[in-house]
């Protein structure tokens, strides 16, 4: 089947990233979200494209073309137009099950489903839908348009055809696909949250300030961002959610650092609230002063 229109469920950072990436590679995209703030999705994608424009990565004409390919909707019936579905909602089991069941009813029977879940099992998600052989786990890593690798997971019933569809889609998005065994947390999220948690302990114990930890991480391992900035960009609530899910599976080694819980309780969620481990400007850039370190 010729895939031209891709439905992306979820307009968080991951969903927006997948939508932007797919549109920039020529796909038409239906970006769906229930949630409050979803309406801002297009504006945030435009902001992301503006940053690329400011760095000469795209032209103004390319920006307009990409935006024109993305249609935002809160109407699930729009899914009937899709040739491929990518689920990128938060890893809340009940919400995800419900959404997948609805999508299963609304999408054409020949449409394959990809789930970008980080902490849930594809085999479990597949139980909820009739097309369980057509569901593949394909975990994109934010910022999706810039990260050239994706993790692929087969569920128990996933067919070879479905895997081929997922691989072809990921390849067109410019990703190297690494197939791994089904395991909650995959490779990237598991390693990342462990690193974030340890960095949070460094702050909580007063070993160093956030900006200094970031500098050491970045320069030691050639990283663009250290784990604290990565956490802020993912959203500290999401990181906490991942850790809690992984703690249930793997036990205390994924117990969240108290500082992380405290920040989430305080609404200090990272870039989206302008303050997390670090502080952020309106343009989502890190504030260079030290405000990010100080707890309110």
């Amino acid at each position: 089947m010729d895939i031209r229109r891709v439905a992306v469920l979820g307009a968080g950072r991951l969903g927006r990233g997948i939508a932007e990436n797919a549109a920039s590679k020529g796909y038409d995209v239906i970006l769906f979200s229930h949630g409050a703030g979803g309406k801002e999705a297009l504006a945030r994608i435009e902001k992301s494209l503006d940053r690329k424009l400011a760095k000469w990565g795209i032209t103004d004409a390319e920006k307009r073309l990409i935006l024109n390919r993305i249609e935002y909707t809160q109407d699930l019936r729009e899914l009937s137009k899709a040739d491929l579905l990518v689920e990128a909602t938060l890893d809340h089991l009940d919400v995800k099950y419900e959404l997948l069941r609805t999508a299963d009813q609304l999408c054409r029977r020949d449409v394959y489903f990809l789930s970008a879940t980080s902490t849930l099992k594809v085999s479990d998600l597949a139980k909820e839908i009739n097309r369980s052989d057509m569901l593949v786990g394909l975990h994109f890593i934010p910022p999706v348009p810039d990260v050239a690798v994706a993790e692929l997971v087969r569920g128990v019933r996933t067919s070879d055809e479905a895997v081929e569809v997922a691989k072809a889609f990921a390849a067109r998005l410019g990703k190297q696909v690494v197939e791994i065994e089904e395991s909650q947390g995959l490779v990237n999220p598991r390693a990342l949250v462990a690193m974030i948690n340890e960095a949070a302990y460094l702050l909580d114990e007063g070993v160093c300030e956030a900006k200094d930890a970031e500098l050491i991480f970045r320069e030691s391992w050639g990283m663009k961002q250290g784990p604290l900035e990565m956490a802020d960009r993912l959203g500290l609530d999401l990181v906490l959610n991942w850790m809690e899910q992984l703690q249930m599976v793997f036990g205390p080694r994924y117990a969240p650092c108290p500082l992380l819980r405290r920040y989430v309780r305080q609404g200090r969620l990272g870039v989206k609230s302008r303050l997390g481990f670090l502080a952020y400007t309106e343009d989502d850039a890190v504030v260079t002063e030290d405000e990010g370190d100080k707890e309110d």
Partner: protein, 396 residues
């Protein structure tokens, strides 16, 4: 003999049908927006009304089939059957070191072409897609590939190698390949014809100045140096491409602006050249700006002209003289003011321009005066004709 010439891009294609007995164009057309529901086909058979239609065309095979349907259409066409096409000539951008001339396509050729995709990722895959699509529809018709780089295969090593560790050339074949070869070949041969001289006795500098621009030194009918290099980014200032820049400046810019490879690539290819300096990439807008005394348009025009002049000077040195300078392609053919300025700055070559002839458009014209020591021509390029000629020669 009827030759069907195809130039396939990733989402468009252009075609011309030639009767080679008299090199007459029987029909021509293009398909735009391939891959979309609203693709547009425009077709015109010589002497007949132009037709245009919008329809879903999802891939190149369908696009080519539609073109053939129009060529054999009872009202708009010129052929009774597709069998009247004797061969298909394909434009292929990059032939690498494997192809120094046009070639009949077979399985081995296609394998090599696939392996060359890395050298011209924006063009070669689309060209090969066109070849496969045409083969599918016309499996018994011979297909010929004509390469943009082939004409430059005669450039000697001292001019095509870069002064970097030689292992880089050995490992990855990084060297000057040059582009627009089919155009440089056509206009230089045509200039020799217009001069009534054997091209083997001539030193010619051809300036292909379109949105992409390159300049070639042609000695005895052979390219001995050209301004574009491993990629079409080197050399002259272009519409949106920087042309030559100190590689050291790039590292500095990347550090200062925190740019990655994709961003610096895009900056140099899409945000630079005339656009980068003046904010507009079209030479007509630059000329308008110059008339209105716009400072940055004047700067862009000066830079553009100066860089061509430097190349002409260096190629005069490379060939120890020049008999003719040829201008072609959009800017080369349609910007008399640029030619006037350029030539006025080359008095040491003994060139004088006939300003009336310099204003003529759309035809082969010698714009230098009869007593000019170096002849100057404006020759509209015809790459499709060269492709048709090469194809006819190979299949004959």
């Amino acid at each position: 003999m009827n030759i069907f010439v195809l130039n396939c891009g990733s989402s468009s294609l252009k075609y011309k049908l030639y009767a080679m007995e008299n090199e007459k164009v029987l029909a021509e057309g293009k398909v735009e927006r391939i891959g979309q529901d609203n693709a547009v086909i425009t077709h015109q058979s010589t002497g007949k009304e132009k037709v245009s239609k919008t329809m879903p065309i999802l891939e190149h095979t369908i696009a080519i089939q539609e073109c053939l349907n129009l060529l054999t259409h009872s009202e708009h066409g010129v052929l009774k059957s597709v069998n009247e096409i004797d061969a298909v000539g394909h434009r292929v951008v990059h032939g690498g070191e494997s192809f120094s001339d046009s070639v009949l396509i077979n399985e081995r050729t296609k394998e090599i072409l696939d392996s060359l995709a890395e050298l011209a990722p924006l063009h070669n895959p689309a060209n090969v897609m066109g070849i496969r699509a045409a083969e599918k529809i016309m499996p018994k018709t011979p297909q010929v590939a004509v390469f943009d780089t082939a004409f430059h295969s005669t450039i000697p090593p001292h001019a095509h190698l870069y002064a970097v560790p030689y292992t880089i050339y050995q490992r990855y074949k990084v060297r000057r390949y040059g582009f627009h070869g089919t155009s440089h070949k056509y206009v230089s041969q045509r200039a020799a014809e217009l001069m009534g001289r054997n091209i083997e006795d001539l030193k010619i500098i051809s300036c292909h100045l379109g949105n992409g621009a390159s300049i070639t030194a042609i000695e005895g009918g052979k390219s001995i140096d050209t301004s574009m290099g491993f990629t079409p980014l080197e050399g002259l200032m272009m519409g949106t491409r920087s042309g030559n820049i100190d590689p050291g400046a790039l590292f500095y810019i990347m550090r200062k602006e925190d740019l990655n490879l994709q961003q610096i690539d895009s900056m140099l290819n899409k945000h630079s050249g005339l656009l980068g300096i003046a904010g507009v990439s079209d030479m007509r807008d630059i000329e308008k700006g110059v008339e209105e005394d716009d400072k940055m348009c004047k700067m862009a025009f000066d830079m553009y002209e100066y860089r061509i002049r430097k190349y002409i000077g260096s190629y005069v040195a490379a060939m120890n003289g020049v008999d003719a300078i040829v201008f072609t392609a959009g800017i080369g053919e349609n910007t008399p003011a640029l030619r006037t300025r350029l030539i006025s700055k080359l008095p040491y070559l003994g060139i004088t321009i006939d300003e009336e002839k310099n204003k003529l458009r759309g035809q082969d014209v010698e714009i230098s005066t009869p007593d000019s020591r170096v002849k100057v021509f404006v020759i509209p390029t015809d790459e499709e004709l060269v492709i048709a000629r090469d194809t006819a020669e190979i299949v004959s």
